[in-house]
């Protein structure tokens, strides 16, 4: 079990755009550098990348919810 944390405070999104599916779903393989979500900070979108490899367990916060820096966004198995 490993956590992926938010690098910045802002609003966290699971999807690249509202019409598209989430970056990852439970069970997906995650490689180092894979984008798992976006944090919107001051109208700029920053990609959240995994620094570890594993299997995606799930998002820890809802889509489009406010997050703080260091908050756990998703977990890997």
């Amino acid at each position: 079990m490993a956590d992926i944390q938010s690098p910045l405070p802002g609003t966290f999104y699971h999807k690249p755009s509202p019409e598209e599916p989430a970056f990852k779903s439970a069970g997906d393989a995650v490689a180092v550098g894979d984008v798992i979500g976006l944090v919107e900070v001051m109208k700029t979108f920053i990609e959240v990348k995994s620094e570890i490899a594993g299997s995606f367990a799930g998002y820890s916060v809802d889509d489009a919810s406010p997050v703080t820096a260091g908050q756990v966004l998703a977990t890997l198995d």
Binding site: L8, T11, V41, M42, K43, T44, A64, P66
Partner: protein, 457 residues
């Protein structure tokens, strides 16, 4: 009817600016805020404050139903929209007017008309304001294109009549080039949009961005001279001046008169800005659009004319006539504003929503700092990165640049990263000093490494 209870439907530095203006007029202030903004400076300064929703702007500052409920609940008799958010929303203005509340700005119909590019261009042409010359409608043959180009003048931009975006845009400097490029543009337009029709307009290369501040009371209108805002990054202005030293007196007079003509033709009420492209090679200016609200860079116009634009817009929207006549508005000296954003210029302008630990603000004659900061304030990440604006006023442009440099060196915002290093570098740049720039100047300047950058990026 004079305004007594003003509701401020905005946040940040402009909310602070509006509260100060309203208090100076003896008006009771009611500040709207989101859940994330409960401790912002405007909330502390206002006579009362009301929460209008959650942190995301669409649930608070863009939420018309929530704002209307708060306006009713607090018994406000007027609404100031600031800039951005709902300041140019006809739907919001209609809701405010339907509630019998005064909107500090023009009518919904004026906002709607000026917000539509085609309608705004028509209104400008009808008032005798120059627009970028172009074909009257679609052009279907290369010979027709050449005839139109001869009329509007080279260089010309060739665009697809159907569709938008950058598809199929070409620039021709001569008829020979046009005859080569137009068929290519037709083919590309036909392939992309199923319609090979073209549209031609004059290409303005390396334009300068010049805008005119106007004020209207619904009957009469005046201008407060022009501003130059050519230093832009990603279409965001970063450094603004009043006046535009590149203009000669005759061009300035014609430009400002054209803006007043359009304001009068639309029975404009409130503060507004007409934006123009200026071609310094030919000394021509062309209207591009009108902003029907107060702008971020309004202080430079206030500094050179002494007119308080925010107070004046509150007064005229409360039913008073303009308090100044055109012949009483006189230019005095030169003013420069720079935008202090919570961004790290050494890291590709990465947003930096930090916590302000300690603050030293610049002070002195001809120095103004419009902001919403206080020590201990945590910058929320949910809104834009503008923290404030440093504005200076001096007899000449060179002296204003020197004063700006000194003011910026005197600011300390501990705990934040800001765009101050960018402005200090600009203040020392020979082209900026000489006024040799245009709207396409700053980005290549940054790409060329004129700013010290940190890290490996």
């Amino acid at each position: 009817m004079a305004i007594k209870r003003l509701f401020i439907a905005n946040r940040g530095e402009i909310a602070v600016r509006i509260i100060r203006a309203a208090k100076g007029l003896g008006i009771h202030t009611i500040q709207a805020h989101s859940e994330a903004d409960a401790n912002m400076l405007a909330v502390k300064l206002a006579d009362e404050a009301v929460c209008v929703g959650a942190a995301p702007a669409k649930e608070s500052y863009l939420n018309i139903d929530a704002l209307m409920a708060a306006i009713a609940q607090t018994g406000a008799d007027a609404v100031h929209p600031g800039y951005g958010f709902l300041s140019e929303s006809p739907a919001f203005v209609r809701a405010v007017e339907a509630a019998g509340v005064t909107f500090v700005g023009p009518s919904a119909a004026t906002i709607e008309r000026m917000g539509d590019k085609v309608e705004a261009r028509k209104a400008a042409e009808a008032a005798g304001v120059p627009v970028v010359p172009g074909s009257k409608g679609r052009v279907d043959s290369v010979d027709d294109a050449a005839a139109v180009a001869a009329e509007v003048g080279y260089p010309v931009m060739i665009k697809a009549a159907a569709g938008g975006g950058g598809r199929g845009i070409r620039v021709a400097d001569t008829e020979e080039e046009l005859r080569k490029l137009a068929p290519q543009a037709q083919q590309e337009a036909a392939a992309a949009f199923g319609d090979g029709g073209l549209y031609l307009e004059r290409a303005v290369r390396s334009p300068r961005h010049i805008e005119v501040q106007i004020l209207g009371d619904g009957t009469d209108a005046v201008h407060c001279f022009e501003r130059e805002c050519s230093l832009q990054r990603r279409r965001q202005k970063v450094w603004e001046e009043a006046g535009a030293d590149c203009l000669d007196d005759e061009t300035r007079a014609t430009l400002c008169a054209s803006a007043v003509a359009l304001a009068k033709a639309t029975n404009y009420r409130g503060a507004g800005t007409l934006e123009y492209l200026y071609d310094s090679a030919t000394n021509e200016f062309f209207f591009i659009e009108m902003n029907t609200r107060i702008q971020v860079e309004h202080p430079v116009s206030e500094m050179i004319t002494g007119v308080d634009l925010v107070q004046e817009m509150i007064r005229v929207c409360g039913g008073e006539a303009l308090s100044v006549r055109q012949d009483e508005i006189v230019r005095n000296g030169h003013s420069i504003e720079v935008r202090i954003n919570a961004e790290d210029p050494a890291m590709q302008f990465m947003p930096w929503p930090g916590k302000l630990e300690a603050m030293t603000v610049p002070e002195g004659d001809g120095i103004r700092f419009d902001h919403f900061l206080y020590e201990g304030y945590q910058i929320p990440p949910f809104y834009d990165s503008l923290l404030g604006k440093v504005i200076v006023h001096a007899p000449t442009r060179n002296e204003a640049i020197e004063k700006m440099k000194a003011a910026l060196q005197g600011i300390e915002l501990k705990g934040l990263k800001t765009t101050i290093p960018l402005h200090l570098a600009l203040a020392d740049d020979p082209d900026v000093r000489a006024g040799n720039f245009h709207t396409q100047w700053l980005e290549p300047w940054l790409d060329a490494g004129n700013l010290p950058t940190g890290g490996a990026s």
